[in-house]
Each structure stands twice: as C-alpha cells, then as structure tokens.
C-alpha cells in the first residue's frame, strides 16, 4: 500500500464532512473515488493533498506519516495533485509553466542570481513532447483551449516526478472524445512510469473504463470498496446513486462493461 | 474616577459617530466586496455640507436639524453617482483596481473640498437646545453627546431592523454570505449594489453631520476617518454591522483612554489594537471566513 488513510475525519463547525474513512491505495493501481455530490470527495481529497487538516485520523505515504505535512512539502515526497478546475499559470508560457515545476522539484526555489531562462530546457521539452504540447511552448497558458490546459496541467504534474498522482475530476468539462483521449494519455503515462493513480470522477464511463479499484463515498463514509465489477453490482451503491427505481437498476446492470 | 467615566463617555460619543461611518463601510464591503476608501471623503462632505447649511441659514432656528436632514441625502446622491458612473465599470476587476479607484476618489474629493471651502478649519456649533453642559458625576459634560448617543442608537436599531426584519435586509445578509448564490436565486444584484452603496454613503454623511460640533472640520477628515473606520471594520469583521458597533465602541474607548495614558502616542493604540486582533483572528472578531 503506497497511500493509506486511517480513521480520517473532518468536521466543519459540527458538520461532519468526512467521518472515519479508511483508505488503501495499492502501488501501481488506478484507483477511483466516486460518490454523489456532497459525499465528501473533495474534502477527503484535500486532506490527502495537505490543503485541509484532518480533525482526526492519519495519512501514511510509503510508510511515512504525512498527516501534518504542509501541502508544498508533500509534493516533494512524490504526492502530486491536480485541480478540479484547470489551475495553470495563465500569464506564463507553456514552457514556463512546466519549467516552474521542474525548478521547484530541483530545489531551485530560492536561487536568485542565475537566469532561469535556459535551465532544464531539455527536461522541460521532453515533458512537453510527452503531453503533446511541444509546438505550443511559447504560447501563454491562459490562452490555450480547455483540453490543452488539461494537458499542460498533466505536464506540470509530470515535471514533479510523482510517485502517486492525485487527480480531482481529470475529465471535468470535456467532450466525450477529449475525455477518452485524456484518460488514455494519463493511464498510459501512469503505466509506463509505474506510478499510482488516485482520482475522483463523476463520469461513470471514465471510471469503469479505466479504474482497477473503486472506492465509493457517501455522506462522508465509505460504503463500498473493491474491483469495478463488484462495485457495479453493489446494491448499496446503486441505491445511493439512483434511489430505489427498478428501471434504473435494470439499465445499470445492462450497461456493457468495457473494463 | 469621575475623570475616567467622563473620558469614557466622550470616547463613546466619538466612537458611535465612527460607528455610522464604519457600518456603511462594512456593509459595502460585505455586500459588494468593495473596499471603499472614499468613505472617509463622503464623511468629510457630510461635515462640510453641515457647515455650509448652518452658515447660510445662520439665523434660522433648527438649522442644524435641517443640515442633518439635507446633508446625508446630498452625500447619498453623491454616492449614487459614484456607484453608477464609476464603480459599476470595475466590478469584475481585481481587488487592486477597486482599491485604487476609491483611493483616487479620496484625492479628488479632498481637493474639490479645498476648492469650495478652502484649507482652514471650520467649526459648527451644536443645535441650540443641546449646546449647554450637564453635570455628570461632578464634571461638566456636553449635552450634545446625549443627542449623538440617541441618534446613533436609533440608527443601530434601524439597521438591525432593516437587516433582520425586512426582505431587503435579508437579501443583503444573503449576499454577504454568498454573493453568487444570491444572484443565482434571481436577485437583481446590481440594484442591491446601488442601494447598498447609497445607504452606506448616507450613513457616512450622517456621521459627518454629527461629528461637526465635536471636532473641527478640516481636509484631514477623510484620512483620519477612513483609517479609524477601517480599523473598526477590520476588528469587527468585514460585513458585520454588529462587529462594527463593537469595534467602534472599543475604538472610542481606546482613543479616550489612550489620551489619558500616553497622549503623544495615543494615535498608535487603535493600530495596535487592530494588529492584535488580526494576529489572533485573521478575519476580525466577527468576520466571515469565506472571502472570495
């Protein structure tokens, strides 16, 4: 297990957003977290990335307790996140966006008296190649299309030499073709580099196509955890998503599995 | 002892005047998320207009009350114009632009006041029926202060009633909590903004009117008042009228006692108070956590 959470809990002024969650993410897996809106996915996610301090519980990464590690240090451990809405640096060029990440990873954050211009060029370009943005290196990040910005974000993430990728709704807002392409890119990179992927998603197609393990969250608690086929058949999950409608249960069971 | 109480009461009077200014500022920020530096300038205009009215109507009885009615309205109209002509154009901009716009207005307003009234100090006497003093615990105490308390208290109650008992007030409170959501519910946010800014301006103008018998009118008013008002609002929490009241009272007391304790450095105490509050509670005593 590369990432583990035990008894994770988050309260906001008495409201329990996440209550007593245990999570086990296996190294090299493609692990998805799903659940209806308000289930606490984002809260849990933010605790894993260090943006929110848990009220209780622990988080362990590669054997190390990282529960109280600040967000910017977690990134150095190899835990790299991306955001639900595209969060790149709009007024920096594509090159600079990735270069910033490389510089940070290489510990060059406080270097003041060397020009940054040519540093790590090759490394940056290699990453841009991999996400398919090398031709747009000089364009400003804020002017890219949404899909390209997602790629750029992926590039930034890769530049940080992650061991585990935490992606928050990686295909949000994309057209189906784009979703397919993006997930293909992500999963290919993850498999090639032996990384672990942990992602939240709303799109069931994306989840069931790509994940090899799924955790279902509802009202801050885990109600199911296992392989996609098991989750698909799980009645609690279905009830949570679709209520008690038999018509919906039937149509869910009849969806062809492309896993 | 009597000295202390007298000082405290003086501080209360001045603090309550500032409450009027600060409450407007707080509401404007809470609802519109705009930091209105020009608020102090509006206060200044309220004061100068009072001077103008009372001087021109020198022999009319009740001139102060006429000023009290007229001046805030004029200032409110001024606020309305500012909102409609200038502020509307920068709502979508970054915070920096908004700060700078209202900052620019202070410069402009100060010189406009200078053009009209000159740079020397002006003063206004309290209205006839409260221009004497009353003996409080053996020390003489201006009657006018009682009038200030009464009016400020009435305004505080009025604001409370507005915010908690009217639909318009409910909308305002909703916008302080979550602007976007309120807009999504079909509220005409533009009109709320205009209304809020105008109300804030009216309050500032009234504050300016009330302060005239307490201290002299000068071109320094915008700077002094805005800093104090900000301190109050920051202490109390941006967007909270009750916080503004608490902050204003605290500030008034701090000023009053500061003068007793260390007269030369008394000016610094409010800043120290603000610094302390922010260090312990970065969003003020009653401030909202969620700031966009």
């Amino acid at each position: 297990m590369i990432l583990q959470a035990r008894g994770l809990r988050k309260e906001f002024d008495g409201f329990v957003a996440v209550g007593n969650v245990d999570l086990d993410v296996q190294e090299g897996s493609l692990h998805a977290m799903i659940g209806p809106n308000g289930a606490g996915k984002t809260t849990l996610f933010n605790m894993l990335t260090g943006h929110l301090a848990p009220t209780r519980g622990t988080i362990t990464f590669a054997g190390r307790d990282i529960t109280h590690l600040p967000a910017h240090t977690r990134c150095m451990q190899g835990i790299v996140r991306s955001f639900q809405r595209t969060h790149i640096f709009p007024r920096l060029t594509v090159f600079e966006n990735v270069q910033a990440a490389v510089l940070s990873r290489r510990g060059q954050r406080f270097t003041m008296f060397r020009p940054a211009r040519g540093l790590y060029r090759d490394e940056v370009y290699a990453i841009l190649e991999e996400v398919g943005l090398s031709e747009r290196a000089d364009e400003l990040g804020g002017l890219l299309s949404h899909g390209d910005q997602k790629r750029l974000e992926l590039g930034i993430v890769l530049a940080l030499a992650p061991r585990i990728l935490l992606l928050d709704e990686p295909t949000a807002g994309m057209a189906p073709r784009e979703k397919f392409a993006t997930m293909e890119l992500i999963t290919r990179i993850v498999r090639e580099r032996g990384l672990t992927l942990f992602f939240t998603e709303h799109d069931m197609d994306v989840v069931f196509t790509n994940a090899d393990r799924i955790t279902v969250l509802h009202q801050g608690r885990v109600i199911a955890d296992g392989a996609p086929a098991d989750i698909r058949a799980d009645q609690d999950v279905q009830r949570v998503y679709f209520g008690d409608s038999e018509w919906l249960w039937k149509s869910l069971r009849s969806t062809p599995s492309t896993g | 002892m009597a000295n202390l109480i007298s000082q405290s009461l003086t501080g209360l009077a001045f603090g309550l005047v500032l409450f009027l200014v600060a409450s407007g500022l707080s509401l404007i920020f809470g609802v519109m998320r705009i930091v209105n530096f020009a608020h102090g300038a509006l206060y200044m205009f309220g004061a100068y207009l009072t001077f103008e009215v009372t001087t021109r109507l020198a022999d009319t009885p009740g001139k102060f009350f006429l000023a009290m009615l007229a001046a805030p309205v004029v200032v409110a109209v001024l606020g309305l114009l500012i909102e409609m002509l200038l502020l509307r154009r920068i709502y979508r901009r970054e915070l920096l632009d908004q700060l700078l716009l209202t900052f620019a207005l202070v410069f402009i307003a100060t010189d406009v006041a200078r053009m009209i009234w000159g740079s020397d100090f002006k003063s206004v006497k309290p209205p006839g029926f409260v221009d004497g003093s009353v003996a409080v615990l053996g020390r003489s105490f201006p009657q006018y202060y009682f009038m200030v308390w009464v009016i400020a208290a009435a305004i505080a109650v009025g604001l409370w009633a507005f915010l908690y008992k009217t639909r318009a007030g409910l909308i305002c409170r909703a916008m302080v909590q979550d602007r976007q959501m309120t807009g999504a519910l079909g509220v005409n946010t533009a009109r709320v903004y205009t209304g809020m800014f105008t109300l804030g301006a009216w309050l500032a103008g009234l504050g300016g009117v009330l302060v005239t018998p307490i201290r002299s009118i000068s071109l320094d008013l915008p700077a002094e008042s805005i800093i104090q008002a900000f301190i109050i609002v920051v202490i109390g929490g941006l967007g909270s009228v009750f916080g503004a009241l608490v902050g204003a009272v605290l500030l008034g007391q701090m000023n009053a006692f500061g003068i007793l304790v260390a007269p030369r450095f008394a000016i610094v105490f409010p800043f120290i108070l603000m610094a302390l509050v922010l260090i312990v509670r970065p969003f003020g005593l009653f401030g909202q956590r969620e700031m966009e």
Binding site: H72, L140 | F107, A109, L278
Partner: protein, 360 residues
C-alpha cells in the same frame, strides 16, 4: 484568475526562450544609448535638472522595490513609505549622532529597513486576504510614522533630522553632479540586482504565486516563505532609496513616512506600467515631473493625481509603458498590412483555439 483582456495576457515580463534576434540587438543597442545619455546628462542640462534627475533616481529605486512585491508577487502594501523612511532616518541619525563613517551608515540603511520589514512582514504575511494584508501594512506604517513623529528626543519629531550634512563626504555634498553619478551608480546596481532576482528561478516562483498561489503551493513552492522574503527584500531596496534620499536632501522629516507617500509610490508603479520591468522607473520619472511642473498650471495637485490614477484604473490599465506597447503594436499592424499584401501575422493572440483532435 487571469484577467480576460487581451492586453493583460501579453506581458513582457515573461521569459521568452526564443527571442527574435533583432529585438535582442535592439535591446542592447538601446541600453548603450541610454547609458551614454545618462552619463552625459549632467553636462548638458542645468543644475536644477541635475538634482531633479538625482531625485528621480531614488524615487525609481523605491518604486522598483515596491514593484518587486506588487508587480511580480501581486501583494499590495499600503505602508511602503515606512521602509524608505527607515532607511533615510538611519543614515540621518547615524551621521548626526555618531561618528560612523558615511559608507557604513549608507550600508546600514537597507539593513535597518530589512529588519523593519521582517518584523512587519512576519505579522502581515499571515493575512492571506489582500484587504486585510493591505490594511495591516498601513497600520504598521502609521505606527512607525507616529513613533517617529512623537519621539521628539530621538528623532527630532516634527523638526526632522538636520545638520548631518557635514558628515557626508564633501564630494557628494558640494557637487550635485557627483551626487548624481553616485546615485546613478547605486541605482544601476539596484536595478541590476532586481533584474537578476526577477529573471532567476526565484523570480519564476514569484510569478507562479502571483498567477495562482494554490497551484504554486501544489508544485512545491513554500508560498508564505517566498512572500516573506520578498517583503523583506522590498524593504531592503526601499532602505537604499532612503539612504539616497537622506544624502540628497541632507535633512529628513517624518512626512517621508506619511501614508500619503505610500499612496504615491503605488501611483508611480501603476503610472509607469505594472507589467513591465522598467515600469516603476518610468512611473517615478513621470510622477516627479508631474509633481514639479504641475504647480505651473494648477494648485490642485491632489485633484490632478487623483484624476491620473482614475484614468489609469479605468482606461490606461497598463500605465505609460503598457499604453506605449499597445500603440506600438497597433502601429506595427497598420504598417505591415499594405506592404506585404497579405494579412499580417496576428500580433493579438487568438482567444481560444478549438479543442485539439487526438488521432485515435
């Protein structure tokens, strides 16, 4: 949180890995020309204009120091007058009350300012919301101002610190041309240092924070530390400006620390153009000229400066240099079109490109 306007997405701050060759040569050439002009300046103009230039230099250094925070990091401080004031008073008081040589006093100025900035910064940086941060910096600046004003026995209060001029080396004291060259040298050194900082990896970190502090943190940037360090650096450079100010004026008064001065330096940065490296320099010069010559046609200086600021906020968002750049680009497009007989390469970027199709 990128601004949607096209102008804002074409800053010249960004490092362009592939600059066109002729712009590089033009850049160097321009630099040489400007350098020569600056060196020859005192011999071509009147004494008054030499001292005007000297004043412009320290204002430029002060504006550059604020720009480091404001332009690159996006932090608005309303109390920046405090640090130029601390620097100026350090030099003045050391020279007045002790036998410390001028050089040491000069170097002490940025140190004292940096310490002041460190203390204030440590308390203010914790406030993440821009308004609270701005107000607290103002508060501290006012505290420093009031202490300076009221601590009569130490700082001379309202009367300021005077009469320390005799401890300034005679060469600088008696000859405005020498003072000009000295200030120019110091100014150029500061400019070069800030240039290096901005171009360095640290500068990249600054800009990531400005663009998107959350993302910056997510790539491993210790945001609060960077902010703190920048605040201190800005204070230090302001201290240098203060030392120059003290040398120039040979008298230092509390009004140097007044909050309206803090407002003026913000205006300088905006007037020049917040998106350009040299914006603060241009802004400082423009502001100074406006200040000195406006009295010839109006006594309402504040009205003028208020209207200028209003114009910048509403219309000329990029300040002088931004306006110049837009005008240049506009002209370049107009000129390019008829000559080539085809549409000129777009100099305004296309707002959004359609989603790329990935070959399956």
């Amino acid at each position: 949180m990128a601004r949607a306007q096209a102008r804002d997405t074409q800053p010249t701050l960004s490092l362009r890995p592939t600059a066109r060759r002729w712009t590089v040569y033009a850049g160097w050439g321009g630099l040489v020309v400007v350098g020569v002009a600056l060196l020859a300046y005192p011999h071509m103009v009147s004494r008054f204009q030499v001292s005007l230039a000297t004043e412009a230099i320290y204002l430029a250094v002060w504006a550059l120091s604020l720009h480091l925070m404001l332009g690159y990091l996006g932090m608005l401080s309303f109390g920046h007058a405090a640090y130029i004031g601390l620097g100026a008073y350090t030099v003045a008081l050391l020279l007045r009350k002790t036998d410390i040589p001028y050089g040491v006093a000069f170097l002490a100025a940025p140190v004292v300012s940096a310490i002041g900035a460190a203390v204030v910064g440590a308390l203010c940086i914790r406030l993440r919301h821009a308004v609270y941060f701005a107000m607290l910096t103002l508060a501290f600046a006012q505290i420093i101002y009031t202490v300076t004003f009221q601590w009569y026995s130490f700082t001379g209060g309202d009367n300021g610190v005077v009469g320390f001029g005799r401890n300034i080396p005679a060469a600088l004291r008696t000859n405005p041309t020498n003072l000009y060259y000295f200030s120019l040298a110091v100014g150029v050194v500061c400019l070069a240092l800030i240039w290096l900082i901005v171009r360095s990896p640290f500068g990249v970190m600054l800009r990531t924070i400005r663009e998107n502090p959350e993302r910056a943190e997510a790539i491993g940037v210790p945001v609060q530390w960077v902010r703190f360090l920048t605040f201190v650096l800005a204070g230090a450079f302001a201290g240098v400006a203060g030392a120059l100010l003290a040398t120039f004026q040979r008298a230092v008064f509390p009004d140097t620390l007044h909050w309206s001065r803090s407002g003026e330096v913000i205006i300088m940065v905006l007037l020049g153009g917040m998106d350009h490296f040299l914006g603060p320099v241009v802004g400082a010069v423009a502001f100074l000229l406006l200040n000195k010559y406006s009295t010839e046609f109006t006594q309402y200086w504040q009205l003028l400066i208020g209207l200028v600021l209003l114009a910048i906020v509403l219309v000329f968002r990029g300040g002088i240099l931004g306006f110049g750049e837009d005008a240049w680009r506009f002209m370049a497009r107009r000129l390019a079109r008829p000559v080539h007989g085809q549409t000129a390469p777009p100099t305004e970027p296309v707002a959004t490109a359609p989603a790329r199709e990935e070959p399956s």
